[in-house]
Every structure is written in C-alpha cells, then in structure tokens.
Amino acid sequence: MMKDTAEKMKLVTHFIAGYPSLEASFDTAKGLIDGGAYALEMQMPFSDPSADGPVIESACRKALEAGFRVGEGFKLIERIKAYADVPLYVMSYSALVFNMVVQGFADRALAAGAAGLIIPDLTPGTDEGLYEAGRRAGIDVVPVVVPGVSDERLSEIMAEKPDWVYLALRSGITGSYTELDAENLGFLDRLKKYDAKIMAGFGICTPEQIETLKPHCDAAIAGSFIVNRLSEASTEKGGSGIMHAAKDAVEYLLGE
C-alpha cells in the first residue's frame, strides 16, 4: 500500500553494508524503504570508525569479521537501486576513500547509483579533493557540521555549494540520546540562510524528536536506533526478521 508521506517528515535511515551479513543488509535496506524512508545512508564499514559510538562500531566490526569487501558494498547499492529508486548516500571514512583514490571512489559510487557521499573526516579545506571530485562526477558531497561552528567556517563549508548538509545535533559520537534544545535548534535555523537542504541526526530515537525537528530542517536521520533494533531482531528471529524489524523501526519513528 502506498503511504501518504506528503506531510510526514523526511526520514534518512542509516544502515551498515554487510551487517549482520551482506544478504541481511539488503533485506534491511528493503525494510527501510518499505517502512517509508525518504533516503538511505549506507555505511561502508571501516576497521577504525572513530566518529562512531559502540553500537555502530561493533556492527562494523562484525561486518568486517564476516568478510565484507568494499566492492560488495558498491554492488549492494546497485541491487538496492534496482529494488526502489530512493536516494542513497554512502557514508564512510577517509581511509577507504583515499585507498581507491578520491575520484575513483566518487566515480564508482555514482556508477552504482549513489546520490551522495558523507565522509566526516574529509572536511572542506582538508578534503583531498573530494568536493571537486564530487562535482566532476556529478555526485553530491554532504558536509557534516556541528552546532558551534563559527559563521566564518560555515561560509567556507557552504562555499562548496552542497545540495544537502548534515547537522550532527551535538558533539560527541553517534548513538546516545540527544536533547533538542535552543542551541541545536537555533543552529538549524542559522543554517536556513544557505541554499542547502538540511538533514539532522545523532541520537534520534523517538517520533517526538522528529516532530520537534520538523519545522527546523528538511529531513531527520536515524542511525544507531535502527542498528540496535536490527541486532535485537537478528538474535531473536533470524534472517527473515531483519526486514520486518527495519520496516517497524521506520514506521515507529514516523509515528505510525
């Protein structure tokens, strides 16, 4: 059944390629799409994800222990895009991008059907040519900003003219609950003067948070919350439970 998503907040849902297995991560993506996700953020597991909290760190480690390869990640994108035409953003760390040569990574991601790249440790000015590579390939590079970034720095970042900007709602790592307060909501409003659309995340785990965010940005991002739901499902129900768990998680967050 088609969902009426017109008035709903757009939800960007994070998942990890190869977790808990390659096939199960495909099921996860399908579940997220069926649940009504606006877009997917697919994390390519890296051995040392230092911006991530324990939930995502542990899931990435399990994916790598199960033998995940970057090439399989790109093929997974192709399968997901064949299933449904939702925007898919590839999130990873500089190590994997630099390893393929930055332009090579951008080109491969675009060829697979990705809409954009989120590489938190390649920031404007020290990006190893990522933003230029993205423009050349025709793929959006999404900068990650945090509340407290100075106006001067914000202008530098926005000079890259990204379609989307990712706001981490607090400093620290992914996973723990984020209080939405005057500081981070105020910062979201400061971002509005730029052309870029805003997706906001870090510690989003309730429909109430998403409702609160709605007037302040274009999309909310949920990550560790979904990974947690999946890890519960994969131990309880086995493979087939994953797709339902993913779908249920999205529907819960969208208030259905």
Binding site: D48, S50, A95, M100, P120, V149, A168
Partner: protein, 408 residues
C-alpha cells in the same frame, strides 16, 4: 627545523571530523604561543630537572662494545627518567600546556602503559583529572602499569573494540574528546595523529637529542656515526634524531617490530614494501592496510611497537632516504635484552631492546673507531611478566602460582 610544519612532504595534515577542527586549532595556537614563551620554557625546564630527573645519562657501553669487537656503543638512558621511559617528556610538556590552556581534565591512550603511567604521574603532580584508555589485550600484557596509573589517581578504561590494542585506545580517546574538548585536553603520546600533535610531540621529545648533542660533545669521542632508535609511533625516535635531521650526518636508523617474522599479522613493519600511504586516525602516513584500505592486525612482543601506523615525519624521512629502517624480531629483542643486562647491568624495555638488537649488528658492521648512540627509550621493569615468561618460563610459573596462593 620549524616548530610547526603541519605537513612533512605529503604526510601529516589534519583529517578529522568538523567537531574536532576548532579544538585542534585552539591547541595549535596554544602550542605555537607556548614554545616561544620564555616563561613556559623555563617552567618546563624546571619540571624536567626537578621531577623527571633530566638530564638522563649517556652511558659509554664499554663492556658491550669490547665483547662485540666493533664500534663503540653509547646508550642514552631514557629509562632513568621518572616513570621509567621517555614518555614523561611529552606528558609533562602537554600537561603543562593543558594547564596553561585552562583545561581541567586530561585523557590519553596507552599501549605498553608507559605513556599512561607518565600522563597519570604528571596529572597527579599538576592536579589534573586523568582518564587513560587502554586496550584490554594491552591491559593483560602490561597489568603492572595499570596499578601504577590507578595509584596516581587516574581512571583506566579498558577498550574492548577492534584489536583491543593501542590503535583502539587512540580511537576511544578521540571519541571521548569529540564530546569533552571544552574542558579536556587529549594528551596524545606519540608523534602522530592530526596536526599539531606530530610537531608538538617532537618538540617535547627533542630534549633527548639535544642532551645527546651536549653530552657527546663533552665526551672524548670524536663524532657520532650512527644513531639507533626503536619506532612504534616513533616519539622517542623523532625526539632523539631531532637535532640531526637537517644535517646530512650521522646515519639515523629506525628499528621496527619484526615480530614473529614475515607475513600479515606477524609483525609491525610498515617502512618496507608492506606499508602503504593512507589516512587513518587523523593523519596521512604509511600504514599496514589491506586491499580495501582496512587497517591490518599487527604483532609484537612489545606492546609499544604493536601499532599499524608511523609518525608522518618519520615516514617522510624514510621516503626521502634521510632515515634508514631496519627491523628486529621478538627473539632478537629478547637476545639484546639479555646481552645488555649481562654486559652493562641495564635492563632495556622490550621496545628499546629492538634498537639494542640493531645496534649489536651495526657495531660489528661499522667496526672499530666508529661510534653508535642507541636510545634506551625505557627500562624493562614493566616487562617482567613477558621477559620472565619468555626467558625462564617454568620457574616463573612456579613463582606466580606460589605468589597467587599467598594472596588472601
């Protein structure tokens, strides 16, 4: 050499999430300001003299040199610094800097535990709150150091992620810092990580090389022909080599952990053809990576050398040829430990024993009339559970069992 370089050739830089950009700029500015401020430098010199016990001796290893029948070996006894290793030089410098910056809390990673002990000690002395991240595998290998850190009032947090060693402790410290930087200084222990750490750690460790210069000039020997240091991340090496880098001489030799021998996961040798350029933990350098760019596991008998990356300046000096790299295996390090204990009455830390092993070979190669200075970056007391088990396993096991029975 400039006190702040950021990049060393292609290597170095600052590849961090946006959230850490401002704290690192704040640190860079505080560092640049402090190292030009005579008051700060005087405070540091006083601390080095009265607390660390500097200058540390430069020992002419006459017995060892005579027995080897080759070049004369001199040993810089950094192990005599308070807390037992060179790590205190950097810990003291950064702790004083943190205090100057108004930070109340210090976090640090540790591998062998020497940097953790040094940091905890400096924090106790300077009245700073201290949290040390340490991989649970390293806690197992270096338990005695955990007790010392706790005795100094530090909280030791075991790290269960990844390989549960030094690199994972670094990740965990960065995770803490991204949420705590407002009142917390991350006291990184090696000459690596995002800038300004590689420059700052080198400057605080350069006291080793500067003392060697003065001490050697005052000796009867003519000139240094070669300098040898072990290289994990490389903080003892870069500090020891520092005054000589821009001159063409002497030969500078870095010794990596050869572990059990060749093959993935058996060693921590990065500077032969197995290491590749990469960006990991905030800096660009040479790393042990697989085809996808994932960080590979490493092995060394010494926790302090058991790390997949190398400081960016050392990587660049290796690339340019100014620095030569060798490796010593676990067994060669143990042999060197025994040799210098027997001939000179000193106990090398397992890390430093890798440099000792290379110096033994080099003394024979260079021959009489030449001079080698080797940096004993730490002393080996902390390794007793490893060295005794490796060198005298049966008796050591009996002793431990008896001792365990005695504890109520």
């Amino acid at each position: 050499m400039d006190k702040y370089n950021n990049f060393f050739g292609d290597f170095g830089g600052r590849y961090v999430p946006e959230v850490l950009r401002a704290p690192l700029i704040e640190l860079e500015n505080a560092y640049k300001d402090a190292v030009e401020d005579p008051d700060f430098l005087a405070e540091l010199a006083e601390f080095q003299h009265t607390f660390i016990g500097r200058p540390t001796p430069l020992l002419h290893a006459v017995n060892a040199s005579t027995e080897l029948g080759g070049a004369d070996i001199y040993i810089k006894l950094e192990g005599l610094a308070n807390t037992g290793a060179h790590k205190i030089n950097n810990a003291a410098g950064q702790a004083l800097l943190a205090k100057r910056m108004g930070k109340k809390r210090i976090i640090a990673e540790t591998g062998a535990g020497q940097h953790g002990v040094a940091t905890a000690s400096a924090c106790a002395k300077l009245g700073l709150e201290c949290v040390i991240y340490m991989g649970t595998e390293d806690i197992r290998r270096q338990r005695p150091n955990v007790y010392w850190m706790e005795l100094f009032g530090a909280e030791v947090r075991g790290v269960e992620s990844g390989s549960r060693t030094l690199k994972d402790a670094v990740n965990e410290a960065f995770r803490d810092w991204t949420a705590s930087y407002r009142d917390t200084h991350y006291l990184l222990g090696s000459a690596l990580g995002p800038s300004p750490f590689p420059d700052m750690v080198r400057e605080f460790q350069s006291v080793i090389g500067n003392e060697v210069s003065e001490q050697f000039a005052a000796s009867e020997a003519e000139q240094i022909d070669a300098m040898v240091a072990c290289v994990g991340g490389g903080s003892n090496a870069i500090g020891f080599f520092s005054p000589y880098i821009e001159a063409g001489a002497p030969r500078l030799i870095g010794v990596e952990a050869g572990g059990r021998g060749e093959g993935r996961g058996n060693n921590a040798v990065r500077m032969d053809d197995t290491g590749r350029p990469g960006i990991v933990q905030g800096y660009k350098s040479c790393f042990l990576l697989d085809e996808d760019g994932q960080v590979l596991p490493t092995h060394s008998i010494s926790a302090g050398l058991d790390y997949p990356g190398i400081g960016p300046q050392l990587a660049e000096l290796g690339r340019s040829g100014r620095l030569e790299f060798q490796s010593a295996t676990d067994d060669e390090a143990l042999e060197a430990l025994k040799f210098f204990a027997r001939t000179e009455g000193i106990i090398f830390a397992m890390e430093s024993a890798h440099a000792g092993a290379a110096a033994i070979g080099l003394a024979k190669e260079l021959g009489k009339g030449r001079n080698i200075v080797v940096n004993m970056s730490g002393r080996g007391d902390k390794d007793i559970f490893i060295s005794a088990a490796a060198l005298d396993g049966a008796n050591w096991k009996d002793f431990l069992q008896e001792e365990a029975g005695r504890i109520r």
